[in-house]
Structures are given as structure tokens and as C-alpha cells.
Symmetry: C2
Subunit: 444 residues, 2 copies
Amino acid sequence: MNIREEARAMKLAAPKLAASSAEQRNAALAAVAAALDAKRDEIFAANHADMDAAAADGVSGAVMKRLKFDTGKLEDVIKGIQQLITLPDPLNQVTLARELDEGLIMQRITVPIGVIGVIFEARPDALVQISTLCIKSGNCAILKGGKETARTNRVLFETIHAAAVEAGLPAECLLQAELHNEIDELLSCEKDVDLLIPRGSNAFVQYIMNNTKIPVMGHADGVCHIYVYKDADESIAIPVLLDAKTQYTAACNAVETILVHRDIAKNFLPKLAEAFRGADIRLRGTEEAGELLSDSADSSIAGTVGGAVVPEGYEIMQEDEFHREYLELIASVRVVSGVEEAVEHINRFGSHHTDAIITANDETAAYFMQMVDSAGVYRNCSTRFADGFRYGFGAEVGISTSKLHARGPVGLEGLVTYKYEITGAGHIVGDYASGRRQFHFRDL
Amino acid sequence: MNIREEARAMKLAAPKLAASSAEQRNAALAAVAAALDAKRDEIFAANHADMDAAAADGVSGAVMKRLKFDTGKLEDVIKGIQQLITLPDPLNQVTLARELDEGLIMQRITVPIGVIGVIFEARPDALVQISTLCIKSGNCAILKGGKETARTNRVLFETIHAAAVEAGLPAECLLQAELHNEIDELLSCEKDVDLLIPRGSNAFVQYIMNNTKIPVMGHADGVCHIYVYKDADESIAIPVLLDAKTQYTAACNAVETILVHRDIAKNFLPKLAEAFRGADIRLRGTEEAGELLSDSADSSIAGTVGGAVVPEGYEIMQEDEFHREYLELIASVRVVSGVEEAVEHINRFGSHHTDAIITANDETAAYFMQMVDSAGVYRNCSTRFADGFRYGFGAEVGISTSKLHARGPVGLEGLVTYKYEITGAGHIVGDYASGRRQFHFRDL
């Protein structure tokens, strides 16, 4: 069977998985955890072979780190599965119960989304995390991992699939796609695949979003901002900015643009520059910010770019470059006249991911948090908190910048939808249209 | 400004509307209701001109009925607005409040989706309904109505917009698009328009869905089924089938396919045929169903199609025609071996809209309602109940067959999303990564 046929078969089998009990799904998760533990040598051997091949291909150190699946990673994913088992069942929750009329009862009940396609680059641990989240939430999943860890993925997939089926879940609950051309085939399965979750680089996610009619959950880029208001406490602002830029620079929730209130820019910017120099972070931004930086006591770093006197290493940016996501030790900087201009900049150039303000003023903070149109709006803390684990969701399938369905870090709640069940005794609409009967809408 | 520029301006103004209070939005709705009442003569005059032009163009009677905007329609929409005012504010609801750690507080708060594009054919009352739902939920809306009611739409739009702005809402809250080529322009505004709601024919909605990257809420077709189980009470089954087919034949929730359990088919099908003949409904279906129908006492209607003996007027269908939505007095019929085959047929050929079973058996009903993958699954009542008003939602923007975001009839709840607000005191992620601090996740 090709992927299209497999997806069709999976779609038709999905209601069987949806009908499984929480006990069955939790037993399957326990079996998966035990099987991964039992197969550890086989998994590590496959991962060594992948790593060796990647090293021979000249893959960079940063990427090599993400390919690695060692004892630490294995123990993390097993711990994650054990936590998942303890979480409440996201399915069969009655979220609305209403008597529409005598003997006509409506219930809204949570059900799985159905068939989810997961496409990820590198990171074999993501395969384990997402497939177990799908099992817990009763969703069938088609998994397509990166070619760099093909051997690791295969062993992980086969181990998880065999354990889940052995524990009584339908064979169609999980499917692995291994060939690269299967991605495009998967993208065309809009009749049978209900949701795609891509995990990878900006360009990769953008490609998925632009080439499918299937709804995509996730985000292409994370252009996060921190706005330093005029009353900002420097002992809060500088550490938060350093954390947001350096704690994990390649993350989507790392800060890319720093906005500084004009009233404090002359004093604050040189201090920022000094702190960032210490962390090897390069600044670029508007001419105004550059000139204020060059006024700093540390005149040794002053240079000239165009007509403006700016510090050495500082680069003057074009306006539309404020859309850029660096994911490296570079930050954009701009001076703004106040919170209104900061909000306007963020809503115009940001990616609606996570943005923060540093201020002691409640009113200014409230305005910022109300007006910034992003999944996360923070005050006096690092943008790096945008994460399912740090929100207490246990695990996440990703972070969504979409306004539809789940927004922000997405846990189990984002993997369910609902259906309306109505039970009557021969009720017909004609009786209500003619006025013979009336609805009375009584919530139960 | 063209639509793209208008949409951009609207997107940047959307947070202002989102920040308006419930009192402001309700006052605007009251002003809209009063203005529509005051301008009734102007509205009716515009509608007469539209109706005259449509009559001169030879528009059919059924369509003419949908173009009409008379006293009854005006009073209905005004009553609808008054009900909308009484509904609770869907915005600024705290749906999660959690202390992540000492002094680090997270809240999840409902907010409007942002900018919604509404494209509809005919039905000027839909313009009023949807624009007032958008005002109540704090969403900016771009409205594009059908050309047949261009005059009516213009007066309605100008009346609503002027009243809303007069009441203090931002001028960008509503925008009317009047030119046909503006539809394609609107479809390309994926950066600024958060959601599209098309209301119209199957082909129209399908066109929208196939030509935009903006999420679309709605449904293209409604291929609804009723399965008559072997123990079905005929005094329930026949009236429910008649209601589901004839109470409003052109509605998306009208039944299109009738599945009958083989054990009762020989007895039930002739009774169904008789009842349907009385309502001028034509049956088409499988050869087996046709032959069982021709065994009926009423041998006068028997004829021969191909090799099979089937009743006169009965048409033998190809398998893939079971995908068809008739929206007229025609129904497909098929004999099935049991609830498993019925479920498989529905999940394969249906549109995941609304499907019903007629049975006295709790276990069979539970199986059907669990396994059928549709927004509505009903027992012993008509599929025509699938409607926001009949669910007690007050008003609806449409019915969604999507699994993401809102499913089934969509009221105010489907027009909001949420954002996460976090307030700290200089909290940084580095402290948690290093183990200096721990999250304690205490729900507030």
C-alpha cells in the first residue's frame, strides 16, 4: 500500500482506537515504556550507526547533538511516558449536557481528532513523545522522521508499534513513513488526515504549510520581543534579556528584538551593550539606537557606518529586517516613544508567538498584555517560559501561533475535538417549526 | 485602499476592538438594532430595487425568497440582536489560572480571533447576523455579500457601521467589500485575516476552501445518513425520515442516504417507498434495495432496469454516487448487514456532518454513536436538529465539519481564542534549567 491507501485504511480504523478505554490506552503506554527499556541495546546500536553515518557526512556538532539518542534521552522519554499514564483521560469528557425538550437530550463529548500526520527533522526523542501523546489521546498517527536518524527511528517505531498492538490497540494506530517522497504524498491526504504537526526548521514548517490543504498545527517562526519600559528595573531587565537570548538561542521562544523606551535609551543601551558583549551577542538595529550606543563611556568601540557614528560591530538595519528570526547570538534593537509604539511594532513585525514587557507600572503592563496580539504576553520574565512543560502541561506536541484550535504550547487538550450526541424518542423538527412543540433548553 | 491594505489596517486596529468593554459592545449592538429599525424604509426600498432587478434577470422563485428582506426578516434580526445583548461576554474569561512558581503567575484568557472575512451568497439577513456576532465577540469583520442584493447589503452595512462607530467602536471594526474581484484579493490576505466564514452553496464553499491559506470555518457538503436498525419502531422511523428529508430539503442537515438493516428490509422498504411517494420523494440505490422494493404488494409500480426487477422511477446507483448531496426530493437507499456495515458506509461516504440511527437497542445505539465520526450523532430523532438555535446557542455563524477549533453548529464560543498571560518578578528559565529553582504548578 502507498501512504494514501494506508491513510485511508487508518481513517476507517480510527474510530476503533477512539473507542478504546483509558485503561487500554494506559496499558499500551506502560507496555511501550517497558519495551523501550528492554530494547535499549538495539536502539543505541541503531543510533550509533546513524551517528557514524552523520559524522562521515560532515554533519555539524549542533545537529549531531539533536540526532543523539543515549541513556539520558531514553530515561527522559520513559519518565515522560510514565507521567503521561498518570494524566487524566482527555477523551469521553462531557463538556455540555442539555435537555433541549422533554426526552430530547444533547451531550457534547470529547473525542480524538482522528488521524494525525507528524513530520519531524532529526530528534528521535520527538518520535517517542508525539506517538505516545497520540496513543494517550486515542489518535492514529503517521510518523515521518528525518533521514539522518532513519535507523534509530525504525527501531523506535517498531518497538512502540509492536508493544501497542500487543497490548490490544488496533494495528492501524501507528504507521511509519520512511521514504522522502512520502512527505508530499502525505501532504495530499486531506480527505483522510485531519491534522499535520511539523517539527523542524522555519523553512521546513513553511514548506509544509504552503503545500497542503490539511490543517497544520505549529509555527514557522518565533520573532519574540522584549520591550524595556522607561521605569524598568535594570536588575530585572538585563538578566531577563540575557536569559531570553542565550538560555537556548536556537529555540523559537528566544528573544530576537529588543525595544527600549526613548527616555532611558541613552542610559540603558550602553549597559545592555556591555552585558551582551560579555555573552558574545552582536547588536544590530536603527541608526538612532546605534548613535545612543556610541555615546557610551566606552568610546573605544565607536566607529562610523554611513553618516552615523555607531559602535564597532553594530549594523544599521532596514525596517523590514525586523521580521527576521536569528536563532543565533544576534539581536535587533530599536528605540520607541512609548508602549503604543512598542505594541504597534510587535503586532506589525512579530510572529504572534511570545512577547514581554519589563515594567513596574501596572497600567502600562495591562495595556501591553491586552494589546499585543500574541499567544503569550509576559511581564517581567523571560520569553523562554513559553513551553508545555513550563506551563505544567506535562508534555507538548508543539507551540501553535494559529488563532484557531489550540494556541501557545499544545498538550493533550489540543489533540481532542468533540462531537454532539442527541438522543430522542422520534422527535422531528417539523413539530418545532409549526409551534406544536417548544424547546426549553435546560442544562443538566 | 485596496482590500489587502484595508485588511492590514484592520489587523493593526483589531486589538483596540478586542480591548473594548462588554458594555461598549452591547451598547453598540443596541445602537445597531435601533438604527436598523429607524432606517427600515430605506432598507426596504433598496431591497425592492434588488428584487426588481433580480426578477428582470429571471432569478428563480426559491432564490428570490432568499433575497427578500421584509418586515418579518427585519424584526427577526432585531430580535436576534436583542438576544445577543443578553448573552454573557465571551471575552476576558479566565479559563486557567496557575502559579508556576512563587511570584510567577499564568492566566489563560479568552480573546477575539481578530479579523474575520465573511463571504456569503444572497440572504441579506446573514450580513446582519454575522456582523453583530462579530461585534459581540470583539472581532473585526470584512463582509462580502452576493451581487443580487448589493443595494440592500450597502444600506444594511452603512447603517450597522455608522451605529457601531457612533457608539464608540473603532472605525475599522467593519468593512464592506463590494466588488467581485475583491473575493480573490481577500482570499490572499493570510497574513492579516485570521478566519474565513463562507456561507453559500457547496461549489461556492469548496471554491473558497481550495483557494486560500486562511483557515476556513464551515462545511462544503452535508451528506447525512439515517440507519434504520432491525428493531426500529416504524412509527418513529417513517416520520423521522420524512422530516429529515422534507422539512427543509435544501438544508445541509437534510438526510441524503437511508441505510436499512437486511433483516427488516423486505418489510420496511415498501412502507418507506409508500410514505416517500406520498411526499414526492424519489428513491435511488443499490440493486438489492430496488429488488426488495419491487416485491412490495403494490406491483403496479414494478419495472425492469438492466437485469434487475425494480419499481418504476427507481434508479440503480453506482457505489461512488453515495457521496452525493441531493438537496432535493431524492434519497439514496442501501441495505446493510448490521451496524458495523452501516458505520463503515457512513464514515466512508458521509461528510462527517450529522448522522442518526433509529433503534430501541441501547448497545447498538452506543456503538453507532461512538463509531460514527461526525460532528453530530443522533438516536431516534431527525438530522434536521443540527442547528445553533436548536442547540440553544442563540445564534450561529454556521456549521463546521472540521475537526479543528469549533465542530458542529458554531456560536459565540467558536469566535474566540485565548492568550496566555504570565507575570513574574524577573524570573528567568536558566534558574530552572540549572535546578536553582523548581516549578510547583499550583492551580489558583
